[in-house]
Amino acid sequence: MATPIEQRGYKNPDALVSTDWVEQHLNDRNVRLIESNEDTLLYASGHIPGAVHVDWTADLNDQVRRDYITKEGFERLMARIGVTPDTTVVFYGDKNNWWACYAFWVFQLFGHKKAKVMDGGRVKWQKENRTLARDVPSYPPAKYKSKPRQDKPIRAFRGDVMSHLKKRGQLVDVRSPEEYAGTRLHMPDYPNEGALRGGHIPGAKSVPWARAINPDDGTFKTGDELKKLYEQDQKLAPKKETIAYCRIGERSSHTWFALKYLLGFKSVRNYDGSWTEWGNLVGVPIEK
Protein backbone atom coordinates (compact mmCIF):
# COMPACT_ATOMS: atom_id res chain seq x y z
CA MET A 1 0.00 0.00 0.00
CA ALA A 2 1.33 3.42 -0.97
CA THR A 3 2.44 5.81 1.78
CA PRO A 4 -0.21 8.53 2.30
CA ILE A 5 0.57 11.57 0.18
CA GLU A 6 1.01 13.92 3.14
CA GLN A 7 3.63 11.59 4.65
CA ARG A 8 5.82 11.32 1.56
CA GLY A 9 7.90 14.43 2.17
CA TYR A 10 6.78 16.45 -0.82
CA LYS A 11 7.28 20.21 -0.93
CA ASN A 12 3.72 20.72 -2.21
CA PRO A 13 1.67 17.69 -1.23
CA ASP A 14 -1.53 19.58 -2.05
CA ALA A 15 -0.77 19.19 -5.75
CA LEU A 16 -1.65 15.49 -5.48
CA VAL A 17 -4.84 13.82 -4.31
CA SER A 18 -5.46 10.17 -3.64
CA THR A 19 -8.08 7.96 -5.26
CA ASP A 20 -9.83 7.92 -1.85
CA TRP A 21 -10.00 11.71 -1.89
CA VAL A 22 -11.50 11.64 -5.37
CA GLU A 23 -14.07 9.02 -4.33
CA GLN A 24 -15.08 11.27 -1.45
CA HIS A 25 -15.47 14.29 -3.74
CA LEU A 26 -17.41 12.69 -6.59
CA ASN A 27 -20.41 14.87 -5.83
CA ASP A 28 -18.50 17.98 -4.84
CA ARG A 29 -19.72 20.81 -7.07
CA ASN A 30 -16.49 22.71 -6.53
CA VAL A 31 -14.42 19.88 -7.95
CA ARG A 32 -14.22 18.92 -11.59
CA LEU A 33 -12.51 15.69 -12.58
CA ILE A 34 -10.73 15.86 -15.92
CA GLU A 35 -9.54 12.77 -17.78
CA SER A 36 -6.80 13.13 -20.39
CA ASN A 37 -5.46 10.14 -22.27
CA GLU A 38 -3.37 9.13 -25.19
CA ASP A 39 -6.14 6.95 -26.61
CA THR A 40 -9.07 9.26 -27.21
CA LEU A 41 -11.54 6.37 -27.04
CA LEU A 42 -10.46 5.41 -23.56
CA TYR A 43 -12.62 8.01 -21.79
CA ALA A 44 -15.66 6.86 -23.78
CA SER A 45 -14.97 3.26 -22.76
CA GLY A 46 -15.41 4.18 -19.07
CA HIS A 47 -14.35 7.04 -16.81
CA ILE A 48 -14.69 8.14 -13.21
CA PRO A 49 -18.33 9.15 -12.72
CA GLY A 50 -18.77 12.85 -13.40
CA ALA A 51 -15.40 13.28 -15.08
CA VAL A 52 -15.12 15.31 -18.26
CA HIS A 53 -12.83 14.54 -21.16
CA VAL A 54 -10.11 16.94 -22.25
CA ASP A 55 -8.30 15.69 -25.32
CA TRP A 56 -4.75 16.92 -25.67
CA THR A 57 -4.91 17.26 -29.44
CA ALA A 58 -8.45 18.53 -29.99
CA ASP A 59 -8.88 20.65 -26.86
CA LEU A 60 -5.45 21.88 -25.81
CA ASN A 61 -3.55 22.27 -29.08
CA ASP A 62 -4.07 24.95 -31.68
CA GLN A 63 -5.54 23.14 -34.67
CA VAL A 64 -3.36 24.90 -37.24
CA ARG A 65 -0.06 26.01 -35.70
CA ARG A 66 2.09 23.88 -33.44
CA ASP A 67 1.07 25.77 -30.33
CA TYR A 68 -1.51 25.77 -27.58
CA ILE A 69 -4.97 27.24 -27.46
CA THR A 70 -5.38 30.97 -26.96
CA LYS A 71 -6.94 32.71 -23.97
CA GLU A 72 -10.26 32.69 -25.87
CA GLY A 73 -9.90 28.99 -26.62
CA PHE A 74 -9.19 28.28 -22.97
CA GLU A 75 -12.25 30.27 -21.92
CA ARG A 76 -14.39 28.28 -24.38
CA LEU A 77 -12.98 25.03 -23.02
CA MET A 78 -13.69 26.08 -19.43
CA ALA A 79 -17.25 27.04 -20.42
CA ARG A 80 -17.77 23.63 -22.03
CA ILE A 81 -16.56 21.66 -19.04
CA GLY A 82 -18.26 23.92 -16.52
CA VAL A 83 -15.14 25.19 -14.76
CA THR A 84 -14.85 28.60 -13.15
CA PRO A 85 -11.67 30.12 -11.67
CA ASP A 86 -12.90 28.83 -8.29
CA THR A 87 -13.31 25.23 -9.40
CA THR A 88 -10.68 22.78 -8.23
CA VAL A 89 -9.72 20.71 -11.26
CA VAL A 90 -8.32 17.23 -10.70
CA PHE A 91 -6.53 15.60 -13.61
CA TYR A 92 -6.06 11.90 -14.16
CA GLY A 93 -5.49 9.60 -17.11
CA ASP A 94 -3.70 6.70 -18.72
CA LYS A 95 0.04 6.19 -19.08
CA ASN A 96 0.57 6.89 -15.37
CA ASN A 97 -0.79 10.40 -15.82
CA TRP A 98 1.40 11.58 -18.71
CA TRP A 99 -1.46 13.35 -20.39
CA ALA A 100 -2.98 14.39 -17.10
CA CYS A 101 0.26 16.19 -16.21
CA TYR A 102 0.41 17.63 -19.72
CA ALA A 103 -3.13 19.01 -19.36
CA PHE A 104 -2.26 20.27 -15.86
CA TRP A 105 0.75 22.06 -17.36
CA VAL A 106 -1.33 23.68 -20.12
CA PHE A 107 -3.84 24.86 -17.50
CA GLN A 108 -0.94 26.50 -15.67
CA LEU A 109 -0.09 28.48 -18.81
CA PHE A 110 -3.40 30.22 -18.06
CA GLY A 111 -2.75 30.43 -14.33
CA HIS A 112 -5.49 28.08 -13.09
CA LYS A 113 -4.00 27.49 -9.65
CA LYS A 114 -6.71 25.30 -8.18
CA ALA A 115 -5.39 22.21 -9.91
CA LYS A 116 -4.35 18.78 -8.70
CA VAL A 117 -3.37 15.40 -10.10
CA MET A 118 -4.95 12.15 -8.92
CA ASP A 119 -2.02 10.02 -7.81
CA GLY A 120 -1.83 6.77 -9.77
CA GLY A 121 -4.24 7.86 -12.50
CA ARG A 122 -6.57 5.43 -14.26
CA VAL A 123 -4.41 2.42 -13.47
CA LYS A 124 -4.76 2.82 -9.72
CA TRP A 125 -8.47 3.63 -9.89
CA GLN A 126 -9.10 0.49 -11.95
CA LYS A 127 -6.83 -1.72 -9.86
CA GLU A 128 -8.86 -0.71 -6.84
CA ASN A 129 -12.01 -1.85 -8.66
CA ARG A 130 -13.62 1.53 -8.33
CA THR A 131 -16.60 2.52 -10.44
CA LEU A 132 -16.26 3.60 -14.05
CA ALA A 133 -19.16 5.11 -15.98
CA ARG A 134 -19.93 5.63 -19.63
CA ASP A 135 -22.47 8.42 -19.16
CA VAL A 136 -21.01 11.66 -20.40
CA PRO A 137 -21.90 14.33 -17.85
CA SER A 138 -22.95 17.81 -18.86
CA TYR A 139 -22.50 20.86 -16.70
CA PRO A 140 -24.02 24.30 -17.04
CA PRO A 141 -21.73 26.47 -19.19
CA ALA A 142 -19.40 28.38 -16.92
CA LYS A 143 -18.16 31.93 -17.22
CA TYR A 144 -14.40 32.03 -17.10
CA LYS A 145 -12.41 35.18 -17.60
CA SER A 146 -8.92 33.88 -18.21
CA LYS A 147 -5.63 35.68 -17.88
CA PRO A 148 -3.66 35.87 -21.12
CA ARG A 149 -1.51 32.79 -21.64
CA GLN A 150 1.80 33.22 -19.84
CA ASP A 151 4.35 30.92 -21.46
CA LYS A 152 7.50 32.39 -20.02
CA PRO A 153 7.52 30.99 -16.47
CA ILE A 154 6.97 27.33 -17.33
CA ARG A 155 7.45 26.88 -21.07
CA ALA A 156 10.76 26.91 -22.93
CA PHE A 157 11.14 27.60 -26.64
CA ARG A 158 14.15 26.56 -28.71
CA GLY A 159 15.75 30.00 -28.29
CA ASP A 160 15.41 29.66 -24.52
CA VAL A 161 17.03 26.23 -24.68
CA MET A 162 19.87 27.63 -26.77
CA SER A 163 20.57 30.43 -24.27
CA HIS A 164 20.20 27.98 -21.40
CA LEU A 165 22.71 25.71 -23.10
CA LYS A 166 25.21 28.56 -23.45
CA LYS A 167 24.92 29.21 -19.71
CA ARG A 168 25.45 25.48 -19.11
CA GLY A 169 22.03 25.36 -17.46
CA GLN A 170 20.39 22.21 -16.12
CA LEU A 171 18.60 20.07 -18.68
CA VAL A 172 16.72 16.85 -18.04
CA ASP A 173 16.10 14.44 -20.88
CA VAL A 174 13.22 12.21 -19.74
CA ARG A 175 13.11 9.90 -22.78
CA SER A 176 14.21 6.29 -22.78
CA PRO A 177 17.95 5.55 -22.50
CA GLU A 178 17.95 4.43 -26.16
CA GLU A 179 16.48 7.72 -27.34
CA TYR A 180 18.93 9.64 -25.17
CA ALA A 181 21.84 7.67 -26.60
CA GLY A 182 20.58 8.22 -30.12
CA THR A 183 20.32 4.52 -30.90
CA ARG A 184 16.62 4.98 -31.63
CA LEU A 185 14.54 7.96 -32.71
CA HIS A 186 11.37 7.07 -30.88
CA MET A 187 10.11 5.32 -27.75
CA PRO A 188 10.35 1.54 -27.71
CA ASP A 189 7.19 0.16 -29.38
CA TYR A 190 6.11 3.60 -30.52
CA PRO A 191 6.13 4.85 -34.10
CA ASN A 192 8.80 7.21 -35.31
CA GLU A 193 7.31 10.67 -35.43
CA GLY A 194 10.03 12.04 -37.58
CA ALA A 195 13.24 13.27 -35.98
CA LEU A 196 16.13 13.32 -38.44
CA ARG A 197 18.86 13.06 -35.84
CA GLY A 198 19.19 10.98 -32.70
CA GLY A 199 20.92 11.88 -29.45
CA HIS A 200 20.33 14.51 -26.79
CA ILE A 201 20.84 18.19 -26.08
CA PRO A 202 24.44 18.58 -24.89
CA GLY A 203 24.77 18.39 -21.13
CA ALA A 204 21.28 17.01 -20.54
CA LYS A 205 21.00 14.50 -17.73
CA SER A 206 19.13 11.32 -18.56
CA VAL A 207 16.31 10.56 -16.13
CA PRO A 208 13.58 8.57 -17.88
CA TRP A 209 10.23 9.92 -16.67
CA ALA A 210 8.92 6.57 -15.41
CA ARG A 211 11.60 6.36 -12.73
CA ALA A 212 9.52 8.87 -10.76
CA ILE A 213 6.67 6.42 -10.32
CA ASN A 214 5.98 3.12 -8.65
CA PRO A 215 5.27 0.77 -11.57
CA ASP A 216 2.71 -1.32 -9.69
CA ASP A 217 0.14 1.40 -9.17
CA GLY A 218 1.45 4.45 -11.02
CA THR A 219 1.79 6.54 -7.84
CA PHE A 220 4.67 8.97 -7.43
CA LYS A 221 7.67 7.83 -5.42
CA THR A 222 8.32 9.49 -2.08
CA GLY A 223 10.13 12.78 -1.69
CA ASP A 224 13.31 11.04 -0.53
CA GLU A 225 13.24 8.63 -3.45
CA LEU A 226 12.72 11.49 -5.90
CA LYS A 227 15.53 13.49 -4.28
CA LYS A 228 17.88 10.55 -4.71
CA LEU A 229 16.86 10.16 -8.33
CA TYR A 230 17.19 13.78 -9.41
CA GLU A 231 19.33 15.57 -6.85
CA GLN A 232 21.77 12.94 -5.59
CA ASP A 233 22.22 10.62 -8.55
CA GLN A 234 22.05 13.29 -11.26
CA LYS A 235 23.27 16.30 -9.25
CA LEU A 236 20.36 18.49 -10.30
CA ALA A 237 20.13 21.48 -7.97
CA PRO A 238 16.62 22.62 -6.92
CA LYS A 239 17.66 26.27 -6.89
CA LYS A 240 18.98 26.30 -10.44
CA GLU A 241 16.86 26.89 -13.52
CA THR A 242 15.90 23.60 -15.11
CA ILE A 243 14.45 22.66 -18.49
CA ALA A 244 12.89 19.25 -19.09
CA TYR A 245 12.19 17.78 -22.51
CA CYS A 246 11.15 14.55 -24.21
CA ARG A 247 9.66 13.99 -27.67
CA ILE A 248 6.74 16.43 -27.79
CA GLY A 249 6.55 17.62 -24.19
CA GLU A 250 4.14 15.09 -22.74
CA ARG A 251 6.50 12.85 -20.76
CA SER A 252 8.44 15.93 -19.69
CA SER A 253 5.23 17.44 -18.29
CA HIS A 254 5.21 14.52 -15.88
CA THR A 255 8.81 15.24 -14.84
CA TRP A 256 8.06 18.98 -14.74
CA PHE A 257 5.27 18.24 -12.26
CA ALA A 258 7.51 16.04 -10.09
CA LEU A 259 10.35 18.58 -10.01
CA LYS A 260 8.22 21.69 -9.50
CA TYR A 261 5.54 20.47 -7.12
CA LEU A 262 6.89 17.39 -5.40
CA LEU A 263 10.53 18.43 -5.05
CA GLY A 264 9.96 22.19 -5.08
CA PHE A 265 12.51 23.06 -7.78
CA LYS A 266 12.56 26.84 -8.01
CA SER A 267 12.27 27.30 -11.76
CA VAL A 268 11.35 24.47 -14.10
CA ARG A 269 10.27 24.88 -17.69
CA ASN A 270 8.95 22.30 -20.12
CA TYR A 271 10.44 22.44 -23.61
CA ASP A 272 7.43 21.17 -25.54
CA GLY A 273 9.19 21.45 -28.90
CA SER A 274 11.36 18.70 -27.45
CA TRP A 275 13.14 16.18 -29.65
CA THR A 276 10.69 16.43 -32.56
CA GLU A 277 11.93 20.02 -32.88
CA TRP A 278 15.55 19.81 -31.69
CA GLY A 279 16.26 16.60 -33.63
CA ASN A 280 15.15 18.31 -36.83
CA LEU A 281 16.73 21.75 -36.37
CA VAL A 282 19.56 22.60 -38.72
CA GLY A 283 22.90 23.29 -37.09
CA VAL A 284 22.03 22.86 -33.41
CA PRO A 285 24.47 20.96 -31.21
CA ILE A 286 23.66 17.34 -30.41
CA GLU A 287 25.49 14.87 -28.21
CA LYS A 288 25.39 11.11 -28.48
Binding site: E38, T40, L41, A44, S45, T57, K95, D189, Y190, P191
Partner: protein, 154 residues
Amino acid sequence: MRNDRILPPKLQQLVDTFEMFDPADRTGLLLSYADQFREVPAEVATRPFAKSHQVPQCESEAYVWAVKRPNATLDLYFAVENPAGVSAKALAAILGKTLSGLPAREIAQVTPDIVEKIFRQNISMGKGLGLMSMVQAVRTLANAAERSDTTHDA
Protein backbone atom coordinates in the same frame (compact mmCIF):
# COMPACT_ATOMS: atom_id res chain seq x y z
CA MET B 1 -2.69 9.97 -49.59
CA ARG B 2 -6.17 8.94 -50.66
CA ASN B 3 -7.17 5.38 -51.22
CA ASP B 4 -9.50 5.45 -54.19
CA ARG B 5 -9.23 1.72 -54.69
CA ILE B 6 -12.43 -0.21 -54.19
CA LEU B 7 -12.38 -1.74 -50.74
CA PRO B 8 -13.74 -5.21 -49.98
CA PRO B 9 -17.56 -4.83 -49.79
CA LYS B 10 -17.96 -5.26 -46.01
CA LEU B 11 -15.16 -2.81 -45.28
CA GLN B 12 -16.50 -0.30 -47.82
CA GLN B 13 -19.93 -0.56 -46.23
CA LEU B 14 -18.43 0.10 -42.83
CA VAL B 15 -16.45 3.10 -44.10
CA ASP B 16 -19.63 4.46 -45.72
CA THR B 17 -21.49 4.00 -42.44
CA PHE B 18 -18.80 5.88 -40.53
CA GLU B 19 -19.03 8.71 -43.08
CA MET B 20 -22.66 9.25 -42.07
CA PHE B 21 -21.86 9.80 -38.40
CA ASP B 22 -20.90 13.05 -36.76
CA PRO B 23 -17.79 13.03 -34.52
CA ALA B 24 -19.60 12.22 -31.25
CA ASP B 25 -21.56 9.35 -32.77
CA ARG B 26 -18.45 8.11 -34.55
CA THR B 27 -16.80 7.75 -31.15
CA GLY B 28 -19.77 5.69 -29.94
CA LEU B 29 -19.62 3.49 -33.03
CA LEU B 30 -15.89 2.90 -32.60
CA LEU B 31 -16.48 2.01 -28.99
CA SER B 32 -19.16 -0.49 -29.96
CA TYR B 33 -16.60 -2.23 -32.16
CA ALA B 34 -14.06 -2.19 -29.32
CA ASP B 35 -16.70 -3.88 -27.16
CA GLN B 36 -17.08 -6.60 -29.79
CA PHE B 37 -13.36 -7.35 -29.83
CA ARG B 38 -12.60 -11.00 -29.10
CA GLU B 39 -9.07 -12.14 -28.44
CA VAL B 40 -7.33 -14.76 -30.56
CA PRO B 41 -8.63 -18.23 -29.56
CA ALA B 42 -6.30 -20.64 -27.81
CA GLU B 43 -6.32 -23.04 -30.76
CA VAL B 44 -4.62 -20.34 -32.84
CA ALA B 45 -2.21 -18.84 -30.29
CA THR B 46 -1.51 -18.77 -26.56
CA ARG B 47 0.63 -16.57 -24.33
CA PRO B 48 3.43 -15.76 -24.52
CA PHE B 49 2.58 -14.72 -28.06
CA ALA B 50 5.34 -15.06 -30.63
CA LYS B 51 7.10 -11.77 -31.25
CA SER B 52 6.92 -12.51 -34.97
CA HIS B 53 3.18 -11.81 -34.74
CA GLN B 54 3.55 -8.51 -32.86
CA VAL B 55 2.59 -5.39 -34.75
CA PRO B 56 5.68 -3.18 -34.93
CA GLN B 57 5.47 0.36 -33.54
CA CYS B 58 2.07 -0.17 -31.94
CA GLU B 59 2.13 0.90 -28.32
CA SER B 60 -1.04 -1.05 -27.59
CA GLU B 61 1.05 -4.20 -28.05
CA ALA B 62 -1.19 -5.69 -30.70
CA TYR B 63 -0.62 -9.09 -32.31
CA VAL B 64 -2.13 -10.45 -35.49
CA TRP B 65 -2.50 -13.92 -37.04
CA ALA B 66 -3.86 -15.02 -40.41
CA VAL B 67 -5.10 -18.60 -40.65
CA LYS B 68 -5.86 -20.12 -44.04
CA ARG B 69 -9.17 -21.92 -44.46
CA PRO B 70 -9.50 -24.99 -46.69
CA ASN B 71 -11.08 -22.79 -49.37
CA ALA B 72 -7.89 -20.65 -49.41
CA THR B 73 -9.50 -17.64 -47.74
CA LEU B 74 -8.03 -16.18 -44.56
CA ASP B 75 -9.32 -15.73 -41.04
CA LEU B 76 -7.76 -12.88 -39.08
CA TYR B 77 -7.21 -12.99 -35.33
CA PHE B 78 -5.86 -10.36 -32.97
CA ALA B 79 -4.67 -9.83 -29.42
CA VAL B 80 -4.23 -6.44 -27.74
CA GLU B 81 -2.18 -6.70 -24.60
CA ASN B 82 -2.49 -3.10 -23.40
CA PRO B 83 -5.82 -2.95 -21.53
CA ALA B 84 -6.04 0.75 -22.38
CA GLY B 85 -5.69 0.03 -26.10
CA VAL B 86 -9.34 0.70 -26.91
CA SER B 87 -8.63 2.07 -30.40
CA ALA B 88 -6.50 -0.95 -31.25
CA LYS B 89 -9.32 -3.24 -30.10
CA ALA B 90 -11.83 -1.31 -32.22
CA LEU B 91 -9.65 -1.58 -35.30
CA ALA B 92 -8.93 -5.25 -34.66
CA ALA B 93 -12.65 -5.98 -34.44
CA ILE B 94 -13.33 -4.01 -37.62
CA LEU B 95 -10.57 -5.76 -39.60
CA GLY B 96 -11.58 -9.17 -38.28
CA LYS B 97 -15.25 -8.68 -39.11
CA THR B 98 -14.83 -7.15 -42.55
CA LEU B 99 -11.82 -9.02 -43.94
CA SER B 100 -11.97 -12.53 -42.47
CA GLY B 101 -13.20 -14.99 -45.07
CA LEU B 102 -11.70 -13.12 -48.02
CA PRO B 103 -8.93 -14.39 -50.30
CA ALA B 104 -5.45 -13.23 -49.35
CA ARG B 105 -5.06 -11.08 -52.48
CA GLU B 106 -8.15 -9.03 -51.58
CA ILE B 107 -6.99 -8.50 -48.01
CA ALA B 108 -3.53 -7.51 -49.25
CA GLN B 109 -5.03 -4.64 -51.23
CA VAL B 110 -6.38 -2.85 -48.16
CA THR B 111 -4.02 0.02 -47.41
CA PRO B 112 -3.25 1.69 -44.05
CA ASP B 113 -5.00 4.92 -44.98
CA ILE B 114 -8.34 3.34 -44.13
CA VAL B 115 -7.39 4.16 -40.52
CA GLU B 116 -7.84 7.83 -41.24
CA LYS B 117 -11.19 7.21 -42.94
CA ILE B 118 -12.46 5.29 -39.94
CA PHE B 119 -10.98 7.18 -37.00
CA ARG B 120 -10.77 10.75 -38.33
CA GLN B 121 -10.34 13.06 -35.34
CA ASN B 122 -10.20 10.15 -32.92
CA ILE B 123 -6.49 9.65 -33.42
CA SER B 124 -3.33 11.52 -32.62
CA MET B 125 -0.34 11.28 -34.93
CA GLY B 126 1.43 8.63 -32.85
CA LYS B 127 -1.72 6.63 -32.28
CA GLY B 128 -2.59 6.82 -35.98
CA LEU B 129 0.78 5.48 -37.00
CA GLY B 130 0.41 2.56 -34.60
CA LEU B 131 -3.03 1.72 -36.01
CA MET B 132 -1.78 2.01 -39.57
CA SER B 133 0.95 -0.39 -38.60
CA MET B 134 -1.78 -2.90 -37.64
CA VAL B 135 -3.24 -2.68 -41.15
CA GLN B 136 0.23 -3.03 -42.62
CA ALA B 137 0.83 -6.14 -40.51
CA VAL B 138 -2.41 -7.65 -41.87
CA ARG B 139 -1.27 -6.86 -45.44
CA THR B 140 2.10 -8.45 -44.80
CA LEU B 141 0.47 -11.67 -43.60
CA ALA B 142 -1.95 -11.65 -46.55
CA ASN B 143 0.89 -11.09 -49.00
CA ALA B 144 2.83 -13.94 -47.44
CA ALA B 145 -0.23 -16.21 -47.67
CA GLU B 146 -0.75 -15.25 -51.30
CA ARG B 147 2.90 -15.95 -52.11
CA SER B 148 2.66 -19.36 -50.48
CA ASP B 149 -0.46 -20.07 -52.57
CA THR B 150 1.39 -19.12 -55.73
CA THR B 151 4.40 -21.24 -54.79
CA HIS B 152 2.15 -24.15 -53.93
CA ASP B 153 0.19 -23.83 -57.18
CA ALA B 154 3.41 -23.73 -59.15
